[in-house]
């Protein structure tokens, strides 16, 4: 075991703290495009991706990290992403959402984590694993040199250059759209710095920037410990549980980071006065467990959850994560339509 995995303690704690303060959940971000027409969290996700993209570009150029896209097994990415998207709507949160709410004491989130861990392990290692192997092998596409495709290597451009170009273009377009729509900047009553950091929920800009920066540091910390990838979540639940069940130490950078993430969210919630054990109706508990089950299968099939693909893979310009992320959004919308939009329409 590499002792540098323990640098993940600091990274995870900061990540969990920021998740809870920023209410950073991609299920809400994507679902509310169509359900509530509320884009606040989507903007936070966008900022986090852009900040990470710029940071990864600098670290790639200086040789601190090597861009490590998830392999492009398109069939498994599409199935896994879509299924994960369906699951997170039922679970009431994405991988990061249910993790920070576990730290807040929400029993619904705990049930989702249980389902995700159980079936995720069955899929990544257990009896469902042959299905994963079969679909991945049947649909794997690699480039001539054996590497996984990214927007950079497909265009024949160095990663750092492509990442800076894309981030630059997106920032300019975003600024132009914001200006045209005449959106007001975030305002609110004047509060002290202590209040705005520890007591009130963060605005989308602050949440996005902080989580993006944490992911940059995470990539460096993780690479130092021999794991060449930024933040993830699901794999941490699986290796931790495997260690607990088999007694064989399988703890790695991700599992250490994940445990610390839950702790960070707990501390943030405690300080803000938002920690409390609370449970929804029993029917909802069954639903969130089942949602977690589906998420676990999806993440193990598609090579990762929303953090691995959208927060960490998209800024690496990985084609796999862009495809998997898109199908995750489709799955989220598909389920949200039946669960929320149709019932809301049937009122009249």
């Amino acid at each position: 075991m590499n002792p540098l995995i323990f640098t993940g303690i600091a990274v995870g704690f900061a990540f969990g703290f920021a998740l809870q303060r920023g209410r950073f959940c991609m299920n809400s971000a994507f679902r509310d495009i169509i359900v509530m027409k509320d884009l606040t969290l989507l903007k936070a996700v966008g900022v986090a991706i852009l900040v990470a993209m710029i940071g990864f570009a600098v670290m790639d150029k200086t040789g601190v990290i090597t861009i490590s896209p998830v392999p492009f097994f398109w069939g498994a990415l599409m199935v896994g992403g879509f299924v994960f998207g369906i699951g997170m709507v039922l679970a009431g949160g994405c991988a990061s959402g249910i993790t920070y709410r576990l730290g807040e004491g929400m029993i619904g989130a705990m049930m989702a984590v249980l389902g995700l861990t159980l079936v995720g392990l069955m899929t990544s290692k257990g009896i469902l694993h042959p299905a994963v192997t079969a679909l991945r092998e049947a649909t794997m596409i690699t480039l001539a040199d054996g590497s996984a495709p990214t927007l950079a290597n497909l265009a024949g451009v160095p990663f750092w250059l492509m990442a800076l170009i894309i981030a630059g273009v997106v920032l300019i377009v975003w600024a132009a759209v914001t200006k045209r729509n005449g959106e007001s900047t975030e305002t609110g009553e004047k509060v002290s710095v202590y209040q705005s950091v520890f007591k009130k929920g963060w605005g989308w800009k602050a949440a996005g920037i902080v989580i993006g920066v944490i992911n940059i540091i995470a990539f460096y910390s993780s690479a130092s410990a021999g794991r060449m990838y930024p933040l993830g979540i699901c794999g941490g639940y699986w290796s931790t549980t495997n260690t607990l069940i088999t007694g064989v130490n399988q703890m790695n950078w991700l599992s250490v980071t994940l445990l610390s993430t839950i702790l960070g969210a707990f501390v943030a919630a405690k300080i803000a006065g938002e920690f409390k054990f609370r449970a929804p109706a029993p029917k909802t508990l069954v639903q969130t467990f089942f949602g977690g089950v589906i998420m676990g299968f999806g993440a193990a099939m598609g090579g990762g959850c929303n953090i691995t693909h959208i927060l960490s893979g998209v800024p690496q310009l990985a084609l796999s994560s862009i495809l998997g992320g898109a199908f995750l959004v489709f799955g989220c919308w598909f389920m949200a339509y039946f669960l929320f939009i149709r019932p809301m329409r049937n009122l009249d």
């Binding site: 359900v35 027409k37 807040e104 929400m106």
Partner: protein, 84 residues
């Protein structure tokens, strides 16, 4: 609470998962008459921030958001039924 408005309906969504507090608040408001008061009891932090924002977007009026204890909040909303 002498100066309090009369509450016509109470919606207890404590412990509920995302986004049930929001959706149930919206669907309940749609079924209420113009001017009636809905009391929402909610302990999910994201919904405490999001409900006032989205309720105003739908032309209902937020009268009050108050903390009861810890994450528990009480939101008072005046329904403005948009339907003819």
């Amino acid at each position: 609470m002498a100066d309090e408005v009369k509450v016509d309906k109470t919606l207890d969504v404590k412990g509920e998962i995302c986004p049930n507090p929001d959706v149930r608040t919206m669907t309940t408001l749609e079924k209420m008459e113009k001017g009636q008061i809905l009391e929402v009891l909610v302990d999910y932090p994201l919904s405490v921030e999001r409900i006032p924002r989205n309720v105003e977007n739908r032309k209902h009026k937020v009268l009050k958001v108050e903390q009861i204890s810890g994450p528990e909040h009480r939101i008072l909303i005046e329904a403005k039924a948009n339907r003819e």
